[in-house]
């Protein structure tokens, strides 16, 4: 065996190294040094992120007999996720050092890094075995993270719901895989794709298998109707975990979803999964929005908002071309920044006052103008208001979807667009609570921690800059169009 193949897995190995270092630090550092563990982990991860950016990005490599692949696009999406994780880490420093968490803070970082490793595998996998391993590595530790506040009932309940549904979904997913295997005789993406393409007509079993596979990944992406765990888990989990779950996990799954649908099942696009996805997108966006309207708890609210955002992300897959891929990646990037800004504010407020319900945000602008401002930008960006990045990502995702060209897609985009109005409504509700409400704010003026502020500054800069500065999107389109 050629061990140099491991060099293709620079990112994965990097994450493992960071994981090991954090683990060792956690295990062997005496109590006194533990306090800086979050900082150390964050700095280590920052170094790793920087390393990933500066090392040459490979054009296209296969490793382990084609089970693993890496390319510019894959490195790019991993880097995007890295940036997201870095922000999550920065934002969680204060929480990790808080009284109840301090004793277990190391575990948070270790579990998080492991799930990240799993996501990398999901992204890079070109064989379903590796993919399943990645998927499970990415989801199982998350259950532990969700249950992190083990003394809080919500956290426990969320973990139970998460783990049970996750196992169920992975069983269904693997059942689907077994059908695929039975039909095609291989678990390699390329082989399956060739077998399907050679098969000509689409068998019912393949469709069923496809539905099973879609549901498995749809679960991670929280597509309706596989999303029902989302709200409860987002609400119950510690906010840092929620923010991680909502952006990184979702981003990775979305990319992996695209890879599987286009590379494995690309041949049956128009026969099978186009329409499945069509229905899922409509359901996801609409149901997510309808639920979000009524939410009073901000974390739950953001959960439903992220459900509907997932629907928009799927539009990029509908396009089934390079423009779509670029739009999807860009959307993930922007979504990471927007959502993390929102969660950053929620977290800062929660850390300072313990409040997460929207009613306590009333009049926040009077007490904490900067936080409210950041929150507002996040909401505008999520709603797709220019000149913030969310507008660009939405516009590009719609443009890319329409590039597919059928009338049906126009209808789909129209439905999505009408849904943006509903989503604008509930995003504005938050803005209204903070800016317009005349009530006196129950949250006193406070000064958020430096780490929180740093995180917010980064995300706000991203919200403002990512769209207007065109190089990000241009670069993404550049690299996706190569494949």
């Amino acid at each position: 065996m050629d061990y140099s193949q491991f060099l293709a897995m620079k990112q994965e190995i990097g994450v493992l190294v960071v994981f090991l270092l954090v683990f060792l630090y956690d295990t062997f550092m005496p109590r006194k040094g533990q306090a800086v563990l979050p900082l150390v982990a964050t700095v280590l991860f920052a170094c790793f992120t920087a390393f990933c950016f500066v090392t040459p990005w490979p054009d296209s490599i296969d490793a382990f007999a084609g089970m693993y692949a890496s390319s510019t696009v894959i490195v790019a999406i991993k880097n995007i996720l890295n940036v997201g994780v870095l922000i999550v880490l920065i934002q969680s420093i204060k929480w990790a050092n808080s009284e109840t968490t301090a004793i277990r803070r190391g575990e948070f970082y270790e579990l998080l890094l492991v799930t990240l490793f799993g996501m990398y595998l999901m992204i890079s996998a070109r064989h379903f075995l590796l993919f399943v391993i990645g998927l499970e590595t990415a989801s199982l530790p998350l259950a532990a993270m969700v249950a992190f506040d083990k003394h809080r009932h919500e956290s426990r309940e969320a973990a139970i719901k998460y783990i049970l549904t996750a196992i169920f979904s992975s069983a269904i997913f693997m059942m689907g895989l077994s059908f695929v295997y039975g039909l095609t005789g291989s678990l390699y993406f390329t082989n399956i794709a060739m077998a399907i393409a050679a098969g000509g007509t689409v068998s019912s079993l393949l469709v069923l298998a496809l539905a099973f596979v879609i549901s498995g990944i749809g679960f991670k992406l929280s597509l309706v109707p596989f999303h029902l765990w989302t709200a409860d888990v987002y609400q119950g989990a510690p906010t840092s975990v929620t923010s991680y779950l909502s952006v990184i996990s979702k981003g990775a799954a979305a990319f992996a979803f695209m890879v599987i649908l286009t590379q494995v099942f690309g041949a049956v696009y128009s026969q099978a999964w186009e329409w499945m996805l069509y229905a899922l997108i409509i359901l996801t966006i609409t149901v997510g929005n309808l639920f979000a309207i009524r939410q009073k708890n901000l974390k739950r609210f953001l959960a439903f908002s992220s459900v509907s955002q997932a629907g928009y992300i799927m539009l990029g897959i509908m396009a089934d071309n390079a423009v779509g891929a670029a739009a999807l990646m860009f959307y993930i990037l922007v979504y990471i920044f927007s959502n993390l800004a929102a969660f950053g504010v929620v977290q800062a407020v929660e850390n300072a006052s313990g409040k997460v319900d929207m009613d306590s945000y009333k009049g926040l602008y009077k007490t904490n103008p900067r936080l409210s401002f950041a929150m507002m930008l996040a909401m505008f960006s999520l709603a797709g208001i220019p000149p913030f990045a969310g507008f660009f990502s939405k516009f590009f995702i719609f443009t890319s979807a329409i590039s597919q060209g059928s009338i049906a897609i126009y209808v789909l985009v129209l439905i999505a667009l009408i849904n943006t109005i509903v989503s604008l409504y509930y995003y504005l509700l938050v803005v209204k609570a903070m800016f317009i409400s005349d009530d006196d704010c129950v949250i006193p003026t406070f000064r958020s921690a430096g780490s929180e502020r740093l995180g917010l500054w980064i995300t706000v800069a991203g919200i403002v800059g990512l769209g207007i500065v065109s190089c990000f999107y241009n670069y993404l389109l550049d690299i996706t169009s190569i494949i």
Binding site: V323, A326, F380, I385, P386, P387, F391, F395, F396, F398, T399, I402, S403, G405, Y410, V413, L414, L417, I418, T420, I421, L424, Y425, L428, V431, K432, F435, I436, S470, Y473, N474, L477, D478, S481
Partner: protein, 502 residues
């Protein structure tokens, strides 16, 4: 990039935003607002002069001062700017109203800084929209202009402001949802086989190769999309509530400028790019806008809230703009632009005055006021002038615009157009009814509330604001040919021919 003068229409507001963010104290804020808007006004006049000079020198390009800088190159999105007479007219209108709006909100309270920040952000969108000739940037600026409305109404508004602000924002965004779909559709269907796709309006118009089947789909999308902002029946209901709740300067800018985005967009995108579909489908929208014109006027007759009256009047007048655009001939379209200018100025004047009156009497209900002419003669006289402009008194702007529209509309000899033209003409009578009703109840007659006797007349900043607007209204009314010449070039037959219009 910065050698193009048009860019500064966006740069100046952005600089203003920065300056406002750093400002401390009311004086500094006012200084920034007034200096900035004066600079914008100066700039637009400069552009106007240059434009006229270039046209006089025989420059026959459809757009002048064009510039295009690649932005999202893979998607062919450029930051493309260019202006013709219509855009320049709109730019001047916007800067005048921004300036007067700044004066009108001299004592805005609370949070003056935030107020001006949003106001300037809004105007960034407006200016950006008018200078853009790239569909993407146009749309972007369009939305930039819409969203600050929410906070401006929500925070500084009055009455049922939450509801109104939300309704306004959602309805306008609803319009822009259709619009976005239309624009993306145009992008994909406008380039002939083998040429790169483009967002550039001029190129699309020159290619003129949008398939007819697609036009049938895209024209209504874009027209309705912009039409919502142009208060087209039945999508106008955001307007009464929105205007009623908005603070003075916001009403001014919104009715004065923002609603013009609708009309301008309908022309610049829907009709300019898809003239064939426009010709085919105009009748549907003519019916709708025809209804708008009369319906708005009739509704205005029974309102008792000053702002509602004016909002419905705006529905009527803006309906006339769209109505005229749909007539698809030079004269009517010229009239439409004149009407945009005219309505923009006079309705801004109206809203400024209503705001000033409301600031004193704390009511906008005409049944609870009366005889203000005796108490605040200056404001009352201005109100009468605004009213006269609105009902189309010669010498003020409304007359010129309406007559141009009617003459243009009458060029269609078929029964359908005739009937609707005459219906639209009827609005001048109804307008007179509701304007005089207000004037009679509000300004004339005995003083209704004795407490009002202690109220004061206009302050100097209020005078500045109103006088500037009145001068503009009168200028258009007295020297219309200057503006017509400015506008007309765009509609001149050879340009129409280039664009494939009849």
């Amino acid at each position: 990039m910065f050698s193009n003068i048009l860019i500064y229409f966006v740069v100046i507001p952005v600089v203003m935003l920065g300056a406002l963010a750093l400002c401390r104290g009311m004086k500094a804020i006012r200084a920034v607002a007034v200096t900035g808007s004066l600079a914008l006004l100066g700039l637009s006049i400069w552009v106007l002069c240059d434009y006229l000079e270039m046209r006089a020198a025989g420059n026959n390009a459809p757009m002048l001062f064009t510039g295009s800088w690649s932005w999202f190159a893979p998607l062919n999105i450029n930051l493309a700017v260019g202006v013709d007479g219509i855009s320049i007219a709109m730019l001047i209108l916007s800067s005048v109203i921004l300036l007067t709006g700044s004066f009108a909100s001299w004592k805005i309270n609370p949070l003056p800084k935030e107020f001006f920040l949003w106001l300037v952000l809004l105007s960034t969108g407006v200016f950006g929209f008018f200078i853009s000739i790239d569909l993407f940037t146009m749309f972007m600026f369009y939305e930039v202009a819409l969203i600050p409305m929410y906070l401006l109404i929500g925070v500084w508004g009055s009455g049922n402001k939450n509801y109104s602000a939300m309704k306004l924002t959602l309805m306008l965004m609803g319009g822009s949802a259709f619009l976005m779909l239309g624009l993306i559709g145009i992008y994909y269907h406008s380039a002939p086989e083998g040429t790169p796709l483009t967002w550039n309006i001029l190129e699309i118009a020159q290619n003129s190769s949008i398939d007819m089947g697609w036009q049938y789909f895209l024209f209504p999308m874009t027209f309705v999309g912009f039409g919502v902002l142009g208060a087209m029946f039945p999508f106008h209901t955001w307007s009464p509530d929105g205007h009623a709740s908005a603070p003075t300067a916001v009403s001014m800018l919104h009715a004065g400028v923002l609603m013009k985005l609708g009309g301008y967009g309908c022309f610049r995108v829907a009709i300019y790019l898809m003239p064939e579909a426009a010709a085919e489908l105009a009748w549907i929208f003519l019916i709708l806008t025809g209804i708008s014109v009369v319906y708005g006027a009739f509704s205005a007759c029974v309102q008792t809230d000053l702002k509602y009256i004016n909002a419905y009047s705006s529905v009527s007048h803006c309906g006339l703009v769209l109505f005229a655009i749909l007539m698809l001939n030079t004269t009517a379209m010229t009239g439409a632009v004149m009407q945009m200018l005219s309505h923009g100025l006079m309705t801004a004047l109206f809203f400024a005055l209503i705001g000033m009156i409301y600031g004193r009497t704390h009511t906008r209900d005409i049944t609870k006021m009366g005889g203000l002419m005796q108490i605040m003669p200056y404001l009352a006289v201005c109100y009468v002038i605004a009213g006269m402009a609105s009902l189309g008194l010669p010498g003020l702007s409304g007359f010129v615009a309406e007559m141009t529209i009617f003459v243009g509309s009458f060029e269609h000899a078929d029964m359908f157009h005739r009937v609707f033209t005459i219906v639209a003409c009827c609005s001048i009578v109804i307008t007179a009814v509701y304007i005089l009703r207000v004037v009679g109840k509000l300004l004339f007659g005995p003083v209704y509330d004795e407490h009002h006797r202690t109220l004061t007349d206009a302050e100097w900043w209020e005078r500045t604001s109103t006088i500037a607007l009145i001068v503009c209204v009168a200028a258009i009314g007295c020297f219309p040919n200057f503006f017509v010449d400015l506008i007309k070039f765009t509609f001149s037959p050879d340009i129409f021919a280039v664009l494939g219009m009849k």
